[in-house]
């Protein structure tokens, strides 16, 4: 019916990218080869006291291998960060819709732990024959940088930091304004206040805009109705303007969602 798989995968490698940001490559059977930018996987804890999977965005795909870059925010992600090469984990994926890729001058905008999906998106845009010769990649950080050097191979990277330690002091929109960055489509992922501001900016400037949303999830496959967002269009499931972030999302046209 759909291409979701639950697998016990082995970890190929794990490394620390910043004080609370980790990068993990996993070897999958079917998940990686069916995955695309903007989708996510559910990662399950081995500790029976933590029942719910952690939804983590896909950072990169290479054959049967898949990479996640995640922040340790609680005990679940802390547990994951303690595993290394050869350890196994239960995961489900690829989940969600992913980004709709357009052949237009793109601005990729990632904020904090919303940056990782921009790597696979940039790669797919470049490798998929989209004209990204002048793509802009705008990254917002609190302070510590990660993935910025890897992203530089796919476009012009502009950085904003909250503390001003690198790039423009402020957020991604401050950087766009400071650098006079222009584009015809925005792909963004990051905290809700950032997405809110990007939505307003895109509307004001008449730019097509796709946002990847985050919400607390339980099942990850559209059954439990925990992770809904307010949508302009009637949703498929309940016909009440509540689209499921895990199923119809996590990527939405900015025009279709209320943040």
């Amino acid at each position: 019916m759909s291409d979701n798989y639950r697998e016990n995968v082995s970890i190929v490698s794990q490394e620390k990218l910043a004080s609370d940001v980790f990068s993990m490559w996993i070897q999958t059977k079917d998940i990686a080869k069916n995955a695309r930018a903007g989708q996510f996987i559910s990662v399950y804890s081995k500790d029976g006291s933590r029942l719910l999977p952690r939804p983590i965005s896909i950072c990169e795909v290479e054959g049967d291998r898949l990479r996640i870059v995640y922040r340790t925010v609680g005990n679940g992600t802390k547990e994951f960060s303690g595993y290394g090469a050869g350890d196994t984990l239960d995961v489900m994926g690829p989940l969600g819709n992913g980004y709709t890729k357009l052949n237009k001058k793109a601005i990729l905008m990632g904020g904090g732990i919303g940056i990782p999906p921009m790597l696979e998106l940039a790669r797919e845009l470049k490798n998929g024959g989209y004209d990204v010769s002048d793509a802009d990649i705008v990254l917002g950080y609190r302070d510590e940088l990660f993935l910025n050097e890897e992203l530089a191979q796919y476009g012009r990277v502009t950085i904003a930091t909250e503390d001003g330690s690198a790039g423009t002091k402020g957020n991604v929109l401050d950087a766009i304004k400071a650098e006079g960055i222009k584009g015809d489509v925005i792909y963004a992922c990051g905290p809700t206040p950032m997405l809110h501001a990007i939505k307003a900016y895109a509307k004001e400037n008449g730019i097509e805009c796709y946002l990847s949303l985050e919400e607390k999830m339980a099942c990850g496959i559209g059954a439990c109705l925990a992770c809904v967002c307010k949508s302009k269009e009637i949703d498929d499931h309940s016909h009440v303007h509540n689209k499921r972030v895990c199923k119809e999302g996590p990527v939405f046209n900015a025009e279709d969602v209320e943040l």
Binding site: L51, L52, I221, A226, C227, V228
Partner: protein, 300 residues
């Protein structure tokens, strides 16, 4: 070996079913679970019209469990009959439709609408802690539970299961009230009202402030209540609350449940229902139990 159980004249191939609200109508889970291997699928609650549910966040994880306040978002009975029932009819399993409402009239309307649909049983949700009107209002007063049971029974064409709330002083009083009202089966327990504070955001973890606690954390409470109700009423019991494996399910059966529902565990392992059914068979093999019915209420 016999794993069949009988609930008010409806024969289930085994005692394992899904708990309402954790499995949708099975569509999303069918890619992981062979629905043909389940005794029944209990659908997410359906009302007379679409309900939008509560604001987000709707859930929060807690130690060994979770709190939810989804608020019974559902598409209403019309879409449900057109889409969900035909989907489930493709499988060799029993269909139990969970019904929710804000008033007696709402419940009656949905039950009447289902009269000629090919569903095997109805489960009446009088125990949802997350909606302001209806739901729990009928599940915390014996008189109200009795009245709603009678009203539903007067129009129902299928056997009626009344789903009980644990958020009461004495659950046997509620079980006796619905039995007196004509209920064919009782199911218990729904979630326990709980609260979690997000200390980083310094506010409630779920937007509804309170929500229903489910998962293994509540299992001993649920087993105790099933045992009490088994000793208080004659009608069969569907036991649930934190079942994650066959061993858990067998506790409920031995405490007096004829069938069991798996809920929150589906989020952790989507194949839990199927594994519980297989695990019960393995237990029966190991201990040479000829008939699952021998185990029901064996603990006295």
């Amino acid at each position: 070996m016999n794993t069949k159980v009988n609930l008010a004249g409806v024969e289930l191939k085994n005692p394992v079913m899904t708990a309402s609200g954790t499995f949708g109508s099975g569509m999303e889970y069918a890619q992981f679970v062979d629905l043909n291997k389940l005794g029944a699928v209990v659908t997410k609650g359906v009302a007379n019209e679409p309900w939008p549910g509560n604001p987000t966040p709707r859930i929060a994880e807690t130690y060994g469990g979770m709190i939810n306040a989804v608020g019974l978002q559902n598409p209403g009975i019309d879409v449900f009959c057109k889409r969900d029932i035909p989907f489930l009819k493709q499988y060799d399993t029993k269909i139990i439709v969970n019904v929710c409402g804000r008033s007696k009239e709402d419940y009656v309307e949905v039950v009447e609408r289902l009269a000629d649909e090919p569903v095997d049983m109805l489960e009446i949700n009088i125990s949802c802690p997350n909606v302001k009107e209806g739901g729990i209002a009928f599940g915390q007063k014996a008189e109200a539970a009795y009245e709603i049971t009678k009203a539903v029974k007067a129009v129902a064409k299928q056997p009626v299961i009344m789903k009980l709330s644990p958020n009461v002083t004495d659950i046997t009083e509620m079980a006796r009230a619905v039995e007196a009202g004509g209920a064919d089966v009782v199911s218990l327990i729904n979630t326990l009202t709980g609260m979690k504070i997000d200390i980083n955001r310094r506010t409630f973890a779920v937007a509804n402030k309170t929500g229903g606690l489910s998962g293994p954390a509540i299992r001993p409470v649920a087993v105790r209540m099933v045992y009490q109700v088994a000793n208080a009423v004659k009608i069969p019991i569907i036991g649930m609350g934190g079942i994650t494996c066959a061993d858990d399910a067998l506790e409920f059966i031995m405490a007096g449940a004829t069938a069991v529902s798996v809920g929150t565990a589906n989020f952790h392992n989507p194949k839990t229902t199927e594994e519980v059914a297989a695990g019960i068979e393995a237990y029966m093999n190991k201990y040479k139990v000829e008939d699952i019915n021998e185990l029901i209420g064996i603990v006295r």
